[in-house]
């Protein structure tokens, strides 16, 4: 019983809808994408149906290299939310992808004192449930 309880994923899961499903499905294949407007060329993250610069619905999915740099971060020592209160401290960061877009994520496989702004990082995929995979980042190897 205790084992089963520990295995249950307690952190909040995203709501996946038709607008964002292709992005989440790509993560399940361990691929990370951003979007680019086919009309004005503006790039955007997170995914949404229309370009925010010209409102065009004509969208190209651009496969990311999976590499980027730490733009900023924080090590959280207090969070009462289920799933997080059991995994303190954890590191939250804005990572600037090579594609020029900032993405909120977690840094993993490193300790808070090892993290530096500007540090190169690479994506790791965590299959947290059968339906959801999350993109997190670790120090680049």
């Amino acid at each position: 019983m205790a084992d089963q309880k520990e295995k249950k994923y307690a952190k909040p899961l995203p709501h996946v809808d038709e607008e964002t499903r292709p992005w989440w499905e790509a993560l399940q294949r361990h691929e990370l994408y951003v979007q680019k407007c086919r009309d004005c060329g503006d790039v955007r993250y997170h995914p949404r149906a229309q370009c925010t610069s010209c409102l065009s619905p004509r969208t190209e999915w651009v496969r990311c290299s999976g590499r980027g740099k730490v733009y900023t971060f924080t090590a959280t020592y207090q969070n009462q939310a289920p799933g997080f209160r059991e995994s303190l401290p954890y590191i939250m960061a804005w990572v600037e992808l090579d594609e020029g877009l900032k993405m909120l994520t977690n840094l993993v496989e490193c300790r808070p004192e090892e993290v530096k702004i500007g540090m190169p990082v690479e994506v790791v995929y965590e299959d947290v449930t059968p339906e959801v995979t999350l993109a997190k980042f670790r120090p680049a190897r």
């Binding site: 995203p14 997170h46 900023t72 207090q78 009462q80």
Partner: protein
């Protein structure tokens, strides 16, 4: 059309409670309205406009509160943009009065955050159902964490130190020690702030606002109507509001809403930075004050650390702010915007006793709602007793 001096704050009341397990949110709001109307020399029969956020209320928001107090106003606004909402309400009330939509508008707030044991800054932030939330909630964002990321980046880019941020908390506590109703009144030092535990690096416990119950209300009316009321009017000279967010992944996070709302408020008020005698700056966290002062243009970007140091922010310093002790020491029931306007009003009336800023004629108020490191709103007011 300029709004300058068309409307004014005629009544202001801060509920003295910091812990009220015996009261409902609506009761705190109603008691606050009574206090603000008494202060103005008006009665509930005079009120024809009402602003409050509706946050924490039932599905019909402000309508449920109107039912509770049997109000049928000609103007309602329940703009809900976080802690800055009541600063924006004050601006909206002024615009409504100038446009003839109402004549006496009450702005009101109440909360029992402390007695209901609500984790304002360290619970899971948002949990909301917006599209943007889906790309954040899996990673454990908290309100304090989102602000901490701004502090981390600022320290990296400009060498801002934890000691400089701590100076803000120290000045607020000094002011709280002179405010009989402030929740925490024992003086603290920079060392105390740095020795308090880290909540979300680089922010310590004493870099964070407190959690209290509380409430307050304002009475906004036309300059004409205010002329024969009980208190000297505090005129609304200029207003500004806007939002910032991740900007489709392309945001410069050290540029915040205050840059735009502040510029609008100064332009509309027709005053200069050097005209501001004191300011009320939303202090959810020390970094909020620091970054807001830079973005409002009181110092250059990167110079905030030096600007807030050396006692400058004290009531007797070159640039007094948050003379009531702020959210860091006096009260923070979740959304603090109304208290910023209330204390600025008290300063401009000369009602602040030992913490009174000498010769205070013009004040700036800036509210921040939400989180600087994800998305937030900013609302600025410039007020004057002249």
């Amino acid at each position: 059309m300029s709004l300058s001096r068309k409307a004014c704050v005629a009544g202001a009341y801060e509920h003295p409670t910091r812990f009220a397990p015996d009261k409902s949110m609506f009761q705190i709001m109603a008691e606050s309205i009574r206090g603000a109307l008494d202060d103005a020399g008006l009665t509930i029969k005079d009120v024809d406009g009402l602003c409050t956020t509706g946050i924490g209320m039932g599905g019909m928001g402000i309508v449920g509160f109107c039912d509770y107090l049997n109000l049928t106003p000609n103007f309602v606004d329940s703009t809900a943009i976080g802690g800055s909402s009541f600063v924006a309400h004050t601006a909206h009330a002024a615009a409504a009065i100038a446009a003839g939509l109402c004549e006496v508008c009450v702005v009101v707030y109440g909360s029992t955050a402390a007695s209901s044991r609500f984790a304002i800054g360290t619970g899971g932030a948002g949990g909301g159902g917006d599209p943007c939330d889906q790309f954040e909630i899996p990673y454990g964002p908290t309100t304090v964490g989102a602000y901490a990321m701004i502090a981390q980046r600022h320290m990296h880019d400009y060498g801002t130190t934890p000691e400089q941020l701590a100076e803000i908390a120290v000045a607020m506590r000094l002011h709280a020690s002179m405010n009989p109703v402030a929740k925490y009144r024992d003086p603290i030092t920079v060392e105390d702030v740095l020795a308090s535990r880290v909540i979300s690096s680089p922010l310590h416990l004493l870099d964070c606002c407190i959690i209290s119950d509380g409430g307050g209300a304002l009475v906004i009316t036309s300059a004409e109507r205010a002329r024969d009321l009980k208190k000297k009017p505090v005129y609304i000279l200029g207003t500004g509001e806007t939002v910032r967010h991740a900007a489709r992944g392309q945001r410069d996070f050290l540029e915040i809403a205050a840059a735009q709302s502040g510029r609008l408020a100064f332009e509309r008020a027709g005053v200069k930075h050097s005209d501001i005698d004191m300011a009320m700056i939303y202090d959810s966290f020390t970094i909020t004050v620091h970054t807001t002062l830079e973005n409002l243009g009181f110092c250059k970007r990167g110079e905030g650390g030096a600007f807030v140091s050396g006692g400058r922010l004290r009531f007797d310093g070159d640039f007094p702010i948050n003379t009531d002790g702020g959210g860091l020491s006096s009260n923070h029931p979740g959304m603090r915007g109304i208290f910023l306007v209330i204390e600025a009003t008290r300063q401009l009336r000369g009602e602040c006793g030992p913490r009174q800023v000498v010769d205070c004629k013009t004040a700036l108020v800036h509210g921040t709602g939400g989180a600087l490191g994800t998305r937030h709103s900013g609302a600025t007011l410039i007020l004057s007793n002249q």
